[in-house]
Symmetry: C2
């Protein structure tokens, strides 16, 4: 955890000020664009005239996708994968159960746990939403040649990997700090 405290870069060869500036500018551009993209998220979904986006909450969709891809899971595993608080997953899962999208059963291997599995209806709904979103992005990226789309996909995948990794690291850090603080009073 000490690699974390250090701003990771102290004295630096003064030689290459211009390159440094370009690096800083790049970060600024990336930061700006990611912020914009995140802010636009809701607007984009709402802008989808096909209304399919309304049938699944953000987290619900992500949960179904992950259950589909990785099989039945308990709440904690979902929360960890999705970088969400357990309480959030619990609530989403409750709503999804009410709507018949998933089933919840006690974990046979751990009496505290609950295993969540998608239902047929849940998977159908997910696929419908997925298709609608694909159409939406096909519209947004109408002018992009395939090669560019491939590059975009690759970049986003790598970015997300690193964002997730970073979020997990920081979250773990914060947990540690909290429990350390609790010792002090």
């Amino acid at each position: 955890m000490s690699a974390y405290d250090e701003p990771e870069r102290t004295a630096r060869p003064a030689t290459d000020g211009q390159a440094d500036e370009e690096r800083a500018d790049l970060l600024g551009r990336i930061e700006t664009e990611v912020a914009m993209l995140m802010r636009l998220g809701e607007a984009t979904r709402r802008s989808d005239p096909s209304a399919e986006h309304r049938v699944l909450d953000r987290a619900a969709y992500a949960i179904l996708r992950h259950l589909d891809a990785a099989g039945p899971q308990n709440v904690s595993a979902l929360a960890a994968y999705l970088v969400l608080d357990g309480s959030t997953v619990t609530r989403q899962v409750s709503a999804m159960q009410r709507d018949g999208l998933i089933v919840r059963e006690p974990d046979p291997r751990d009496g505290r746990g609950t295993v969540v599995a998608p239902t047929e209806a849940g998977l159908n709904r997910m696929n419908a939403v997925r298709a609608a979103r694909a159409r939406l992005y096909d519209g947004i990226l109408a002018d992009w040649p395939d090669e560019e789309r491939r590059v975009l996909a690759r970049m986003l995948e790598r970015l997300n990997e690193d964002v997730v990794a970073h979020a997990r690291r920081s979250r773990a850090n914060r947990r540690d700090q909290r429990s350390t603080n609790e010792d002090l009073p």
Copy 2:
């Protein structure tokens, strides 16, 4: 709504089925990653140990950036640029005024309007946040060589342009529909 029942792909020229499939898969990947990135937004900001992110709301930051880049503006112009509802901007701007980040003056050229301008304090705050975010992204992208970062920035910029264009188009569409409907009854 009938497109909904169909699993999205009926008879289709069998000629190029493979390329089509790859295109669909690409869209799926992009859709997945954008959704994930948007969902991660809050987590990422919260994960920033430097806490600067707390001092500015999402929209407040975007507003200051735009005021900085494009000069004083009235509320509507800000809303249009940021793809936000006017009421949202109004509220943000009120809070920002309370906090001394911007000043609001009647528009000399239009008695209905209000011109919003950043204060020194506002710009300082924005720059602090910007720097903190740049640090954050430098950490997230620690393993990325400059060339990759450049590609990422370019891709995100183009994606956002198209997302914004699409959101505006759809928004206009919806407005038209609404007013058309109003005529009917």
